[in-house]
């Protein structure tokens, strides 16, 4: 689960990370009032969307007057901001963050992840701030500092000083950076984060360090113990169909092909997409109905898959372990009765109660195309599409 920059900064401020003075604005008047309250001569107006690369799309602008604050806010709010991460259609800007601008002397990178290799929370830092850290890792891997944290000890002071020194910090900046790292670690640990990024961590006037941009994402499996973070979720930033699917206990991700997929299990769902691609077909979605799929759940899966107008055929692939093929079959028949389904449907059932499932489909009289195995299913769905084309 991701949150906005202004939310991340408020959260980090509470843990003791220095961030610029600023507040979020929802309209032009609001923005001007905030800028006036903050004082100073220059302000940064930052579009608040979850996608990165905002600067490249004109979503981060420095205003030298209250008039400019109004103008930039007006130009951002209500428009679709296109960045390298949003796709062509862009993302609707509904609020902007107004901050006091500061003079930047040097930019650093400070992040934390749960590293798959060490299986621990790991600090990632670099003297090359303001850039994509993955680019730095590729072009100049020596400039990326990694330090894994022992969960029983926490991020130790000496580790922070070691990282700070390698980042090229000196003097009182070392202690300052150590404090920021430990504050970030406490926030990361206490709030069950999966990723935190301060980029840039900037040295500003008199060498003080400040988090000029910040991003965090959280472990949705742990959100039951963080009601304060759940409140920050912004559904406008999420795909409507994906949110609807998750409400039905389905895991759905839209893709750009024409073969709708309804599968149980994440691994098999991916493999089904792969089998379709192997036969030169193009999957329209990833959909995992999960374990214990009821007929209602199957019906909802059809509804969501068919909301995509590109879907020209559907492949249902169920390998029932915890699931039961007879229930899935009943769900399929029910969906055909309840919904106006015009596309051909290829069905492959295997596993628990498969001997009961197939007769239900046959007895229904609906034109299901039955497949014996995964290869047969992928071949048939691609053939059906070719025949229709």
């Amino acid at each position: 689960m991701n949150i906005h920059e202004y939310q991340t900064k408020e959260l980090l401020r509470g843990f003791g990370v220095p961030v610029p003075n600023g507040r979020v604005a929802h309209n032009v008047d609001n923005a001007a009032t905030i800028a006036e309250d903050l004082g100073g001569e220059r302000w940064v107006v930052k579009a608040q969307i979850h996608a990165g690369g905002r600067g490249k799309g004109g979503g981060v602008r420095v205003a030298s007057s209250l008039e400019e604050v109004r103008q930039f806010t007006d130009e951002m709010i209500g428009t679709y901001l296109v960045t390298p991460q949003t796709g062509e259609q862009g993302r609707l800007v509904q609020r902007v963050l107004i901050e006091q601008a500061c003079k930047i002397n040097k930019e650093y990178y400070l992040g934390m992840v749960i590293d798959r290799a060490t299986q621990r929370i790991t600090v990632i830092a670099s003297a090359s701030g303001g850039m994509n850290i993955e680019e730095v890792a590729k072009t100049d891997p020596d400039r990326v500092i990694r330090e894994a944290v022992d969960p029983a000890i926490g991020l130790a002071g000496f580790q922070c000083r070691k990282i700070a020194a390698r980042m090229g910090l000196a003097g009182k900046q070392i202690g300052e950076a150590a404090k920021i790292m430990q504050a970030l670690y406490r926030c990361f640990r206490d709030k069950d984060a999966l990723l935190a990024e301060i980029n840039p961590l900037a040295a500003i006037d008199e060498g003080r360090l400040m988090a000029l941009d910040a991003k965090m994402s959280f472990d949705s499996n742990a959100m039951y113990r963080h009601s304060d973070i759940i409140e920050l979720r912004d559904f406008d930033e999420e795909d409507v169909k994906e949110v609807e699917a998750s409400g039905h206990g389905l895991n759905y991700i839209a893709l750009d092909g024409d073969v709708g997929c309804i599968v149980n299990g994440a691994g098999l769902a991916m493999a089904t997409m792969d089998a379709i691609s192997f036969h030169k077909g193009r999957p329209a979605n990833f959909l995992d109905v999960g374990g214990g799929a009821s007929p209602e759940k199957v019906g909802n899966a059809f509804r969501i898959v068919l909301q995509d107008p590109n879907v020209k055929a559907i492949l249902v692939n169920i390998f029932a372990g915890i699931n039961r093929c007879d229930w899935i079959a009943e769900g399929l028949v029910q969906a055909m009765r309840d919904q106006d389904i015009q596309v051909p449907i290829v069905v492959r059932l295997a596993g628990t109660n498969v001997e009961k499932g197939a007769p239900i489909l046959k007895a229904s009289g609906f034109p299901f195309i039955m497949a014996d195995n995964l290869d047969d299913a992928a071949t048939k769905v691609v053939a059906v599409l070719e025949a229709a084309a």
């Binding site: 969960p151 640990r189 069950d192 999966l194 994440a266 691994g267 372990g321 915890i322 995964l374």
Partner: protein, 289 residues
């Protein structure tokens, strides 16, 4: 022989009296597994499925001599249950729960250091040595005793591969689901090492997916240390970058995380890579005969 669980394994179930646990414990018992009791805090002293229920794992181990535990408690309580099993000296701990907070697992792995136990999962269908011991939720009837070791991250894709093998007459020594989470108890290398050491296992099928360095690390280890043939598949060739594909661990975060990048490297390292998931069984048959 087999790996991790066998006919002499003595199994307890944590969260024993719950609905799913009850169903799958019975299934396991019907398939030759020696279940010796279970743990449900507050229900100690009762009988369930004709077996004793204990309040703590410590008591269960002392009374029954259990050495394997299947954990069926909900995700929010799973980390504590794993540590309880570790502390009680259980040697093989199978964690079914899907949705354990990642940082809980980071702490559990720290706690497990030096404890000489194998944690299978979380987010796994479990482990099965066909006909001898099953701890998990997989449909037992698709497995049969044989000579091939199977290890996978995904559950249903494990079933898919096993079914393909069965249709071609190949059985399994043991099938291990290491689970779909980014921080998990046992990695591919640990399981490959066990299969290599097991005299009955003649060859191994490894099924991975997008995200993380595990598959390539395993292939690298196998090149140096493994004498038995290894067939590999990585799911998610058609998955877009940056999107989490169902499993918490299945996300492409960099170029090395993609299915094709992993399979290319695995191939270079001598793994027999299958590009079409529908042909895992056939490829195994060809390579192993």
């Amino acid at each position: 022989m087999s790996v991790f669980v066998h006919r002499h394994s003595r199994v307890i179930i944590q969260g024993f009296t719950g609905q799913h646990a009850t169903f799958h414990a019975e299934e396991s018992m019907h398939n030759g597994t020696t279940v010796v009791g279970g743990v449900t805090p507050g229900k100690g002293g009762q009988q369930h499925l004709g077996l004793p229920v204990f309040d703590t794992v410590h008591q269960a181990v002392a009374e029954t001599g259990a050495d394997v535990s299947g954990i069926f408690v909900p995700p929010a309580f799973a980390a504590d249950a794993i540590m309880e099993a570790l502390e009680a000296g259980i040697g093989v701990i199978v964690v079914i729960a899907d949705g354990i907070p990642v940082q809980d697992m980071v702490r559990v792995k720290r706690y497990a250091l030096g404890k000489n136990a194998i944690i299978i999962g979380p987010n796994t269908p479990g482990i099965i040595t066909p006909g001898a011991c099953k701890v998990g939720i997989m449909p037992s009837h698709i497995y049969s005793p044989g000579r091939i070791g199977v290890v996978s991250r995904s559950g249903t894709l494990n079933y898919e591969a096993v079914q393909q093998m069965s249709e071609l007459g190949m059985g399994q020594t043991t099938s291990v689901g290491i689970g779909g989470d980014p921080v998990n108890g046992t990695d591919f290398v640990t399981v490959l090492r066990a299969f290599e050491a097991d005299p009955e296992t003649e060859a191994v099928i490894m099924i991975g997916e997008i995200g993380g360095p595990q598959e390539v690390e395993a292939a690298r280890w196998a090149k140096e240390n493994m004498s038995k043939p290894l067939v590999g598949f990585v799911a998610g060739v058609s998955a877009p970058a940056g999107r989490r594909m169902g499993h918490a661990g299945a996300i492409i975060s960099g170029e090395a995380d993609t299915a094709n990048a992993k399979m290319d490297l695995m191939e270079e390292l001598g793994v027999h890579v299958v590009r079409n998931p529908a042909l895992i069984g056939e490829t195994a048959k060809r390579v192993f005969s």
